[in-house]
């Protein structure tokens, strides 16, 4: 199945929004079991405004995100990228339109912005760590929250080895587990933030410009870690970034949001050949795709 998904993702093509709209697959009604691999998110005619309907932040956005896809959202500042991500995370409610989510496990879609069944991890632009907790305690935080959460003591006992393994998976060492965020570098804090997003074994990983404040060298390392995690865990990943190279390198698909008129202006699929990370960064396809992306962002 994963190989089939990879095959779908490898066809490099440019589609405009009108065509995307016609490709919508309508999710079955609630309670109906699905046999196919459904879209994990289906956003229809989504509108978000903060009080003034004449000045929406998101205007009639329609987007379907298949399971297992690495989707990147790019666009100029103020076009609503972060708002779109917050809508998908359930942190921002819609002013109009509809969002459907499907966890895939129960194969029953849920309507509205609750999405309780869909496990999502979120990586913010800042590491957003609690300075009074050690790295391990920060990592354990998601297990302590919510109605079905374990108490602090229970969460402490639960899966210590699994959590240490997670730290190692994002490139931190076991010795870092006892350190507070103030004792970790910016890059290590970002890695810890990434590990925390994975603690609840999410189906979806949402990232809001996570590497914006790190240097180029570290950004490249973190990008490799992120893509490796996406592939290894079969995640659906949605990344918001300003960085076009990052979008081209990491993604299966890139959508472009434009500020005026508001909406999706392009939806591009990325050809991902089986290359090593270093080779991929230099591959001619990367440069071709960057040209397509630039053309979509800055039409002559």
């Amino acid at each position: 199945m994963a190989a089939a998904c990879q095959e779908v993702a490898t066809g490099c093509m440019v589609t405009k929004m009108q065509r995307l709209n016609s490709q919508y697959r309508v999710l079955p009604p609630e309670g109906v079991l699905m046999t196919e691999n459904p879209a994990i998110y289906a956003l229809r005619e989504a509108v978000v405004h903060f009080g003034d309907p004449q000045r929406p932040v998101l205007q009639r956005i329609s987007l379907e995100i298949p399971r297992g896809q690495f989707l990147t959202v790019v666009g100029p500042s103020g076009c609503g990228k972060s708002t779109l991500l917050r809508v998908l995370a359930g942190l921002q409610s819609l002013s109009g339109g509809q969002l459907e989510r499907s966890s895939g496990e129960s194969a029953m879609p849920t309507r509205g912005a609750s999405g309780a069944e869909l496990r999502a991890g979120f990586v913010f632009q800042q590491p957003a760590l609690l300075p009074w907790r050690t790295a391990m305690q920060n990592l354990r935080l998601p297990l302590e929250l919510g109605s079905g959460a374990a108490g602090e003591g229970q969460a402490a006992e639960a899966g210590e080895e699994r959590l240490l393994g997670l730290l190692e998976q994002v490139g931190l060492s076991r010795a870092d587990a006892g350190k507070r965020p103030g004792q970790l570098s910016g890059g290590m804090q970002m890695r810890l933030s990434l590990a925390r997003a994975l603690v609840r074994d999410p189906q979806v990983l949402l990232l809001d410009e996570p590497f914006a404040v790190v240097d180029d060298f570290l950004r490249m390392k973190l990008q490799d870690s992120l893509r490796a995690l996406h592939d290894a865990r079969g995640l659906t990943t949605i990344l918001v970034t300003h960085n076009l190279q990052e979008a081209a390198y990491l993604s299966d698909r890139v959508v472009v949001l434009q500020p005026s008129p508001r909406g999706l202006s392009a939806d591009l699929s990325v050809r991902r050949s089986r290359l090593s990370p270093a080779e991929r960064r230099r591959a001619p396809e990367q440069f071709e795709f960057l040209q397509q992306l630039s053309a979509a962002l800055f039409p002559s």
Binding site: F124, A128, L130, P131, W132, G182, R200
Partner: protein, 281 residues
């Protein structure tokens, strides 16, 4: 020596130099003020009845040292009792304010009243309710020191990083979980800052309380009252000096204790987050 050890030494040296200068600079200012004061008394031959020199004040302090010590201890006890009451009441009030905008809007103006109503107006009410004595003095001290704790702690509980609040919302944290795991620890530097400011007010409150609601037992307030009535200015200045030193010592102790607890137990500091020794990436 490794490069990192070298960096730590440089950092430690810088912090030691800063700590020493934090103590030395105010002491130099004090020496300068005392020198100018003594010089003025000597140059213009000012009568000790009008303005005693620092030397006369020091010798008066030594002369009545036993009374000063007893008074200072009693005033400090009343002030610390008042401060403890205000910490408990102030923190509970701040919790209530942080949980409901309606409660905040309804009761905040009355919290401001604590700061603005003159103690001379409250004194008769305190005397009627509790009588004269230690408890009343502690209550006046609590009234004067409550407001900084309420405002500072409420600010800390409300001004939590919005990204962290989003994180807690994402994991569907309950209001209680958000309060205990996020708002309360994040507000600790604010609470300690509030206690720091309130500590000075609690000393002033205890002294003023001894003026208005005290029962005449030794205390810096009643001592100031007696010395100003007898016009022994050198002893009056000595008492005022001890009151000032007491306020400064309490402020310093709370600062050091608060900073140490925040740094060691919570990885924070009064001025922001601790940037301890960092590992490279």
């Amino acid at each position: 020596m490794s490069e990192r050890t070298g960096q730590f030494s440089a950092v430690n040296r810088t912090s030691v130099v800063r700590s020493v200068s934090d103590v030395l600079v105010p002491l130099l200012v004090l020496a300068l003020v005392l020198g100018v004061w003594q010089g003025a008394v000597w140059w213009w031959r000012i009568s000790p009845v009008l303005l005693p020199g620092p030397g006369a004040v020091l010798s008066a302090s030594w002369k009545i040292r036993a009374v000063l010590l007893e008074s200072a201890v009693r005033t400090a006890l009343a002030a610390m009792t008042g401060l403890s009451i205000s910490i408990v009441l102030g923190t509970l009030t701040a919790f209530a304010f942080s949980q409901s905008a309606l409660v905040r809007r309804a009761f905040y103006p009355y919290a401001v009243l604590l700061q603005t109503v003159p103690i001379i107006a409250i004194a008769p009410i305190v005397i009627v309710s509790l009588g004269r004595g230690f408890v009343s003095v502690a209550v006046v001290s609590a009234i004067l020191s409550l407001f900084p704790i309420i405002t500072s702690t409420t600010t800390g509980l409300l001004q939590v990083d919005t990204t962290l609040l989003d994180l807690f919302r994402l994991y569907r944290a309950s209001r209680w979980q958000t309060l205990l795991r996020l708002r309360v620890p994040a507000a600790l530097p604010y609470l300690i800052s509030g206690i720091r400011i309130a500590s000075g007010s609690s000393i002033v409150g205890a002294i003023v309380g001894e003026f208005f609601v005290g029962d005449g037992t030794p205390g810096l307030g009643s001592l100031i009252q007696r010395k100003s009535a007898t016009l022994v200015l050198s002893e009056l200045y000595a008492t005022v000096g001890v009151a000032t030193v007491l306020g400064t010592v309490v402020f310093g102790l709370i600062t050091v204790l608060g900073e140490t607890v925040l740094r060691r137990r919570f990885g924070m500091s009064l001025g922001g987050r601790v940037s301890g020794p960092q590992s490279g990436d």
